[in-house]
């Protein structure tokens, strides 16, 4: 696999992360379901998953960049598994709505597991690393640059959304209103 193809695949990975972040916002805004603290931690890990591909697009593919995403995915999977185990007892309705039969944290676990497998597959192709130190970074396409800026914008939107939801205090375990939009009695 050439470095240019690897960068294109990394850009596609960034669009996949963007899709997850948009889906999370859609559930939050359309279904009026505010993310709980564990949900937010999983969302944070999805954004951290994007840092490896951004480095690959900017500096060219390197094993250390894939390692960054692997660490983020492993932590995200652990956080999602914690929430899965909290609702594993028979009869437990789970937290939030189910989408296609699975709750968001189950989808998050599947997403992190898929990311780990995808990164492992990418690491199989040594050809992309051959000129990592000697050659200048691969020129970035508009497609890749747009992916980077889309993910950065969605992450910045999450700063605003979380501030609206939690304010400057601790987030509620089961949030139902935006703290900053709540009218005082």
């Amino acid at each position: 696999m050439s470095a240019a193809l690897a960068v294109t695949l990394n850009a596609l990975g960034l669009y996949a992360v963007a899709f997850v972040l948009v889906a999370a916002f859609a559930a939050q805004l359309i279904l009026q379901e505010l993310p709980c603290p564990l949900c937010l931690l999983q969302r944070i890990q999805f954004t951290m998953l994007a840092i490896g591909p951004i480095l690959n697009v900017r500096f060219g593919p390197r094993p250390s960049h894939y390692a960054v995403s692997l660490l983020a995915a492993a932590a995200g999977a652990a956080f999602a598994m914690r929430q899965l185990r909290l609702h594993i007892m028979p009869g437990d309705p789970g937290y939030g709505s189910a989408l296609l039969g699975y709750h968001y944290y189950t989808w998050a676990f599947i997403g992190f597991a898929v990311a780990i497998v995808a990164i492992a597959v990418m690491l199989l192709f040594d050809g992309q690393f051959k000129q990592a130190d000697a050659a200048p970074p691969v020129p970035t396409s508009a497609f890749a640059r747009a992916a980077v800026w889309l993910v950065i914008a969605l992450t910045a939107l999450n700063v605003a959304s979380t501030l609206l939801e939690c304010g400057f205090g601790p987030c509620a375990d089961n949030p139902v209103v935006y703290e900053w939009l709540k009218r005082s009695p």
């Binding site: 603290p37 944070i44 951290m48 950065i152 700063v159 601790p170």
Partner: protein, 52 residues
């Protein structure tokens, strides 16, 4: 508050990864990951109000 700070930290790491030094981005990523795990462990050690 801590989650807003984490999202802000990730945004900064992304901007450094895109515009700044690779080494600094990797270092900031490590610090942010440690902070995220610490916040998770803080919440994971809360007493759970289970119904069984």
């Amino acid at each position: 508050m801590e989650f807003s700070a984490l999202f802000l930290a990730v945004t900064v790491v992304m901007l450094v990864a895109w515009w700044g030094s690779r080494t600094l981005a990797l270092g900031l990523f490590g610090a942010t990951l440690i902070a995220a795990v610490a916040i998770y462990l803080h919440h994971a050690t809360d007493v759970l109000k289970l119904s069984f």
